[in-house]
Every structure is written in C-alpha cells, then in structure tokens.
Symmetry: C2
Subunit: 234 residues, 2 copies
C-alpha cells in the first residue's frame, strides 16, 4: 500500500489512544460483545492532513464520522461567500449522525482543522444494525440526545452571552472546580476556539484582553486564571 505524505486515507489498525477515544463515544461506550463487534465491522479509519475536505454541503450522505484525534470544522458559506463555523468537532465528537434518519444529503461542509484521524461509519450499515440490535438503537439514542443537548446549549450560549462571557465559560469548563488560581493549555489554535464560540478571531482576541481585568493571563496557548471564582461572576 502506498501513501503520500499529503493525504493518507487508509484502513489501518487503530492505535491505542484513538481506540480509547472511540470506545468512549456515546454510541459505542455502552455496547458489548456481539453488538460492539458488528458496529466496529462497519467502521473504517481515515487519516487526513490539515485542511482536507471530508464532505461538502449537498453531497449524498453515505457515512457519519467520529473524530479520534485532531479537529473538524463544520461550516457553511453565507451569501458573500464567507465561511461561518457551525461547529468544531473535537476528539470523541460525532458528526453527521443526525442524517441516520433525518435526511440523505450533508447539510454543511466538513474539513479538517489539523492532522486528523476519523472513524467512518457506513450510514446504511448502522441503520440496519440499529433496527436489529436493541442496544445499538439505545446507543444511537443516547448519542443523539447528548448531541442535541450540546447543540441547544450552543444556541443558548450564542443568544445569551457576550464574547467575554463565552470565553470565561469555556475556560471554566476546563478549570478545577474550586475557586483558586488555575492554568490551562488550549489544545488547539485560537482560530478554532473562535469558531466554537461563534466569534471572529479578532473578537476572541479582544475578549481575552477584556478578561485580563479579571485576572486572566494569556501567553500563547497557555491561559492562567488568577481567581476561578472571580471568572464565574463575569
């Protein structure tokens, strides 16, 4: 088998880290034995370098995906041809699974935002499995429920919070629960964080500088929080 450095697209065995991520995905984590084996047999692994298209809006949807490592950007074009991110998928996130029973064509563009490994599930195969195996159906329900909740949270976040509040929320979700100082490291470019929060990169940058008054220091990807409790008040 031959691969170019530019675009690997293979069916290799999973490495351990990717396997662990996959097994924690909500539509697999509850499966055991035969169901798990059958589900895994509909899957293939795909590795892509940065900025590769996974699918385009309007194409026939024949698979959904789970991010194993790297990041995926789901976006649409507005009337002026500008891209707006709808969702940034991190390791463990599933995308396009709403098309299992919801439609036949992809509704957004999907492209990698880093070197990325994906698990690809054949839509029709999973559909068939879900009808045969109760626990697979249940796992799909769990996955869709969770995804729907986070998407509703996204709407609420967009409509309810200003840019500094969204950034503060994001930081808080990765901070220890108690109130003292903390330090976290962004796992990706600020570009992507902006997309997650529905902000332009410049707006994210300004939100960070607003948060300096609340004791947040940013150096590269490292974010230091003077007082976690103070951040909650924002």
């Amino acid at each position: 088998m031959e691969e170019t450095a530019d675009m690997m697209n293979s069916n290799l065995k999973l490495n351990n880290r990717d396997r662990a991520v996959l097994m924690k995905a909500p539509f697999l984590t509850s499966l055991t034995g035969n169901s798990l084996v059958r589900m895994m047999s509909t899957m293939s692994v795909i590795s892509l370098t940065n900025r590769k298209s996974i699918f385009r809006e309007g194409e026939d949807a024949d698979a959904f995906y789970c991010v194993l490592s790297g990041y995926v950007r789901l976006y649409q074009l507005n009337r002026d041809g500008r891209e707006a991110d709808i969702r940034i998928c991190s390791p463990g996130d599933t995308f396009a699974e709403c098309l299992l029973y919801g439609g036949t064509k992809y509704r957004h563009h999907a492209q990698t935002a880093e070197a990325t490994t994906l698990a690809r599930f054949d839509m029709q195969a999973v559909r068939d499995l879900a009808e045969q195996e109760r626990d697979i159906a249940k796992a799909v329900i769990t996955s869709l429920s969770k995804h729907l909740m986070t998407t509703m949270d996204c709407v609420a976040n967009d409509r309810l919070h200003t840019a500094p509040q969204r950034v503060a929320n994001y930081i808080l979700t990765r901070c220890p629960v108690d109130g003292g100082p903390a330090s976290i490291r962004l796992p990706f470019q600020k570009n992507l964080l902006a997309g997650m929060l529905g902000l332009a990169p410049e707006a994210l940058s300004r939100a960070f500088s607003t948060l300096r008054r609340t004791g947040v220091t940013v150096r590269g990807r490292v974010i230091q929080v003077g007082d976690v409790q103070a951040l909650r008040e924002i």
Copy 2:
C-alpha cells in the same frame, strides 16, 4: 372534576385536530398497532392558558411534551435577569425529549405563549418502551435526528444571516415555491417570531421595514410578498 377558567389541567380525550397533530409527530407517525397503543397509554393531555409555566430550569425532568395547539417558549435568563428565547415550539414540535437519555434535569424554563394544549409523555415509561419495542426506539431516533437537524439549522441561521435575511427565510418557508406574488398570515404574535429568529421584537419590526424595499408589505399578521424570487436574493 372541577376546572377553573384560568388553568385547566386535565386528562380529557383529544379533539380531532389535536389528535391529527399528535399522530404526525415524528416519534409517533411511524408507529402502528400495539406500539402505538402502548405509547399513547403513557400520555396525558394538558391544557394551559397563556403564560403558564410548564417547567423550570433545574427541576427534575419526569416528562417530555409535544405541542398539540398553541405555542411554547423555551428560554433562559441571562446574568441581568433578562429572558432570552432559546426555542419557540409550534404544534407538532416536541421538547425536552433530549432528556430521555441525556440528563435528569430540565435545562430551560418552559412556558406557554398562548392558550396551549400539550401531550405529556412520562419519561421513564417511554424509556422502558423504547427498550422493549424496536419500532418505538426507531421512532425516537427519527424524532431526535430531526430535532437535532433543526437545532443545527438554528445555529447556522444565527451565525450566518442578518435580521432581514432571517425574516426573508422565514417568509420563504411558508410561501409557494414559484416566483410570483404571495400572501401569508402569521399564525402567532410577532413577539414569538422574534424569539424564533433570535431577535428582539424591535429588531424584527425593523427587519420588516427593511424588507419593504424588496416588496414586502406587512399589515397586522398579514404579510404580502410582491415577488417571492426577489426575496430569495436578499
């Protein structure tokens, strides 16, 4: 049985129109025979007048609902105590069903936005049914899939379009497909439309007046469109 005029909360038989709406809900429409009967047996009908609370954020989630007639507003409070609509549910819409497997507490406030009739489904009963009956599980999957798709559309709409564009989109979804003139009647107050589109009422009003230049006339709840095709270009 005694009822006040202010707040009926009863278990009456469905009238024909409500029954038709219910049967078209995605988690019922594919069911037949025994599954349908069992599903219906977990249901009760609730009628409420305008502005009655259905549940509050943080309460234990023991039921999900389908709107049969009227409208329901899902909203949250921001830090200043101002309400922001997350979703407006119309007849046929289901809400809080993402908690079937996604969590145990309601995540928003829900209140009626008109005199409203609801079908109430006991969460635990439906959970049990979905595990027993394949077609019920499948119906739940379909329902969640559809709901997830519309919620992602909502995010996309919020992030991609300006107020006049959102209003134009809304109008177009209820217009005949061809390009000529058309006239539609809003089925609810503009208040609610604003909430659906993620706008303040004033912003909706101004969007309408912007659209006058594109041949849109608004008189009360009646919207007349001079040229449907022109509206698509906005």
